[in-house]
Every structure is written in structure tokens, then in C-alpha cells.
Symmetry: C2
Subunit: 338 residues, 2 copies
Amino acid sequence: MHLGNGPKLSGNLLCKIGSVHVMQTDKKITNQTHTYTTMASEPKVLDKGNLSEFLQSYDTFMLDCDGTLWEVDHITAIPGIDKVIHMLNKLGKRILFVTNNSVHSNLNYKLKFQSFGFDASEDHIFGVAYATAVYLKDIAKMDGLVYLVGSPGMASEFSKAGINYFGFGADPDKASWDPKDLLEMEFRPNVKAVVVGYDEHFHYNKIYKAASYLQDSECMYVASNDVEISFPLGPGRMQPVTGTLVKTVSIAARREPIVVGKPHPLFLDCVMKKHPEIVKERTVFIGDSLKADIGFANNVGIDSAFVLTGTHNLNDMNSGEFPKPTYVMQSLADILDI
Amino acid sequence: MHLGNGPKLSGNLLCKIGSVHVMQTDKKITNQTHTYTTMASEPKVLDKGNLSEFLQSYDTFMLDCDGTLWEVDHITAIPGIDKVIHMLNKLGKRILFVTNNSVHSNLNYKLKFQSFGFDASEDHIFGVAYATAVYLKDIAKMDGLVYLVGSPGMASEFSKAGINYFGFGADPDKASWDPKDLLEMEFRPNVKAVVVGYDEHFHYNKIYKAASYLQDSECMYVASNDVEISFPLGPGRMQPVTGTLVKTVSIAARREPIVVGKPHPLFLDCVMKKHPEIVKERTVFIGDSLKADIGFANNVGIDSAFVLTGTHNLNDMNSGEFPKPTYVMQSLADILDI
């Protein structure tokens, strides 16, 4: 069954997938907290012959959202996605939604899923805004005030988690180049973390304040995600996203953040804090970004499936530049009927 | 005579200066347009023995401003600076003020100089805001509209030069994360250059617009300066400056700019466009930044003198990390009486 807009995976493509990089050796990836080994074996094309084995191999299906459930325009559903969720639910699988998009709260995602014809309980949704709140509260056990350069979704998750924050929304101080004005701006005591996510109110004053709070080495620096830099919204329209904002604060502050989002392994720690019952060997991650999704799966040592409905394509997968998935399929809907 | 706050250069320091890095070989510096050779010989300490030769060697004195004429707080004069300018004028020297600070127009600098007790004609002042206008108009011969992420000083210089620009000041569009709103923001036709300087109104919308205009490969990308990233304004206060803003736009747009400011050689082209009579062999650059000022002098092949009243100190000079000056002195006022 052929769903989605890309070319159908054919026997030829299968050969191409199978024939490239067979000499590749295992490679160490070093990141902020761990060193992991990438999967060096070649991706298996999901087809009739192995679909049943695929479905039986995993109890937990972690699904990316943008580019996996809907196209990267955030609007157009990948056809059949609602049926996939219903089927996996019927099979008794645990479905977790794991996304680097820091604009929305988990409640926003729940409502968005409903508009696409399926439901999910909020504790199965791991928007990075929520995951960042879990990290601060349950893992870092941060006690104090957060200067938040973030979205309404993050503010909402922080409020729910009982985290004290400020800075969200338009900056209250007037713009000035005068050092005197800059020195007179209000700075609060007891700021124990600066958190940077997507923020449409990102402003010079916020860069100044974030960089200033971060001069205190005791003040944590946490970013929701960093691999997504900017996306083409349309011809001649380039939308900066969280990675751009995080790198800006890092440059001004001369510090590197702890990053919660994929491909960093911290995201799994946040998920497992809420779902300690998850068995990594029985878990698969399905997503459209080789860097963020497949990279994450490899970094945390779980299987993965790469879908061709979003960020990356087969050429990217075969280029040798990105982590390799366990499986590749045209669309998540391929698991319904191939 | 000992002026300024740092330690007086002594015989010991002279030995220290003279003894380090004698084995250093010439090193190639590659930048956007040229490859230059650094000065490998050791810096000479300016003293009674060589002051007369120093003054006789040069017709043109290019002076940095922040950290050279006044301290990096922009307020405290380096004692004796007014007398230095009067003396150089009396000796018939050509004095040019060459600064990377893009906040101010040349007229602002003229007024600031007057408040410090000396005068300069506007055509001897090369604030990078002015130099950027000279670059666009007289060197790149840019014909079209400029999207300006910059300061009032830059806007004023662009107006004087007859350059059509927009974007200066607070961004007119409301902040939104919604792709629909982002797509609906006004984009103007015929934008032939994006210029980034210091901008206290720097905002998410400006990053989006700059990155979007820069998707057109015909649209030039020009930065006033890029080496100055952020400065400590006081304890726990870190002021982001132009380098941070330029790097942000570069990251989002995935392009690198043409940089007018020091240490890039383009600044000399802008100066010489207005002063073609300058003879490089008879010119010395005096400044406090080894990276920007001494680096600039070395990159364009003119002599330099390093003053200890600003950004860098003797340890920096001897560290081997930075370009080496021709001369070193405690303060610019040392040329009055040592």
C-alpha cells in the first residue's frame, strides 16, 4: 500500500539501501553525558515479510509528531495515521508521542491529535516543553526561580509542574543601547536556571538578561532542543526555530546548555521518570529526522524506524552523514498494510 | 611619565616582552578576501629612546576609540588624550579615528570628542556605521533597498549617504509562532542587501526577516563587525554586542556575511576611498584590542602600537594567541612624554 507523497520503496531502492555502506564500522558518538555506539548494520525495509515480526518485537512505540503524524507544515495529516493509532491501541501497545517542538503544551497536543481523529492521554505525550519541566523538577531537582525564554506551551507546563518562572512573553523593559539603562534593568535574585526554548518574543533584552544570569556558574543553563535551527516556510521565507535562539544565548553567555530534546539521551530519562515500566529492548522510535529521531534512538540504544514523510529522504539515509535506522518505511501508515 | 591604571612598563617587562616567542615563525592569516602575513618580530616598547623615531616614522595616525581614547566604560577619559591629539595636530599629522562601534554616527563621535576636549572633522572619523555606508555606496555600488538591522547611528549614516533602507527601530509586526502569521508579514521587493550592526531592538521577527531576504543569493549580506561578541558591563551583567547579533542571523540564514569592521581589511578600503592620499608605509594603527586593532594593522600590512588601557593586557600579548604589534605602550598618552 502506497501512502504519502514520496516515491514508493521498490525492489531497486531495497537494493540501494542494502548495498551502501556495508563496510561502515561502528562509530562512537560522544555527547553531553554519554558515549553510545551507532547501529552499523544496514536498515531493513519494512514489508509484508517482516511486518508481523516488527509489530511483535515491540511493546512501546515512541512516535515523533511533526513530519511523522502530519507533514512539516503542521497541518496536512499523513493519510492513515488515525488508523495506525487505533490499530496499535487495539494491539495493546504503549504509544508515546515524543516531540522536540517546544511551542506547545501537552494539552495542545492532545487537542491537535483529536483534530486528526485519534486520542491520547496527556501522560503519554512528551512534548519537549513538558519534558523540560520533568527534567528541572524530577531529575535536576532545581529549587529556585527560572528565567524562561520560551513559549506559552512551556510556561503552561512549568506552571503545571509548580516551577517558579518569569520572563515569558514580551520583555517588559524598553530597548536601549545605553549601558546605564542596561545596568538599571531589573534582575531578580535566586535565579537558579535559565531555560531557552522557542520564543516568538525573543529580543535583545532577553539575550542580555539570559547571558547575565548565566554569569553565575551556579545558575543552570537548560535548552529544550538544539538541532532544529531554521526551516523554509515557503519560497524566500526562512523560519528561525529553537536551535537559533539557543545558539544565540550560548554565544553571548559563553556557555553551553544541557539539552533535553532529541537526539540527546536526557529525553529518555524524562520519559522513563514517568514510565519506569518501559523496557528498552521492547521499544522502537519512529520518526522522520535522521539526526534528531534516529540519532536519539541510537544514542539511547533502542531500535528505530525512519519514515520518508518529513525532514530527510533516502538519499540522506544513504549519504553516510547521518545515523542509520533499524527499519525504513515510506510512511508510518505502512505498518497497517504493506 | 606614568598615565593610566595598569602597571608601568618597566625594564623587567621589557625583558619579558623581548624574551617570549622569539622562535615564532611567520603565520598566514586567511580571511574573507585576502591572505596576509603576520608580523613575527617582537614588539618594541615605546620609550624615550625611540619616541622621536616613532613620531617621525608616520604621517597618518589611525586611532581606535573605545579602550584607547577612553576606557571601555565609554565614559572615563584616558588622562592626557586631549593633549595627544593637540600635539599630533601641531606636528601636522593626519589623525583618523577608526572604530568598530556601530552604535554611533560620525557626528555623534565628533560631539563626544568635543566633550573630551578635542575636535576632529567628520571626514577624519570612521565609525564602522559610516564605513559600512561607504562600502555599500562606493565600493559594492549596491543599488536597491537595504534591510537594516542596526542602530540610529547606522540609519543616520545611511540617510546621509543616500542609501534607501528600512527595518531600523522596533519591528512593526506582532510576535507570533504561527506559520500563517509569519507568512503574512510584509516583505518588500528589491531588497539588495541585509546589513547587521548593533541593534537594541533585535527581535525574533528581525531574525526571520533577515534570514528570509538572505535566501535570495543575489541579496548581499553585510555585517558592520563580528569579533566583539559580548562584554561584562558589571558583576553579573553581560552585554551582547554586534558579533552576537551577526552570528545569530548567520546561523538562521545559513550564510556568512561580508564584514566591514576590524580586523577585516575592507575597513582600510573604506578609509582609503575617502583618503586616497594615505601611504600605508607611513601609517600606524594604535589600539587596545590585539584581535581587532593589531589584527587589522597586520592584515592590511601597516605598523601598529598596542595600548594597555582597554581590552587586552601584556599577558595576552605574550600568550601567542593573538597578532603581535610593532610597538607596545602603557597608554596613548605615553607619546607625549615618556
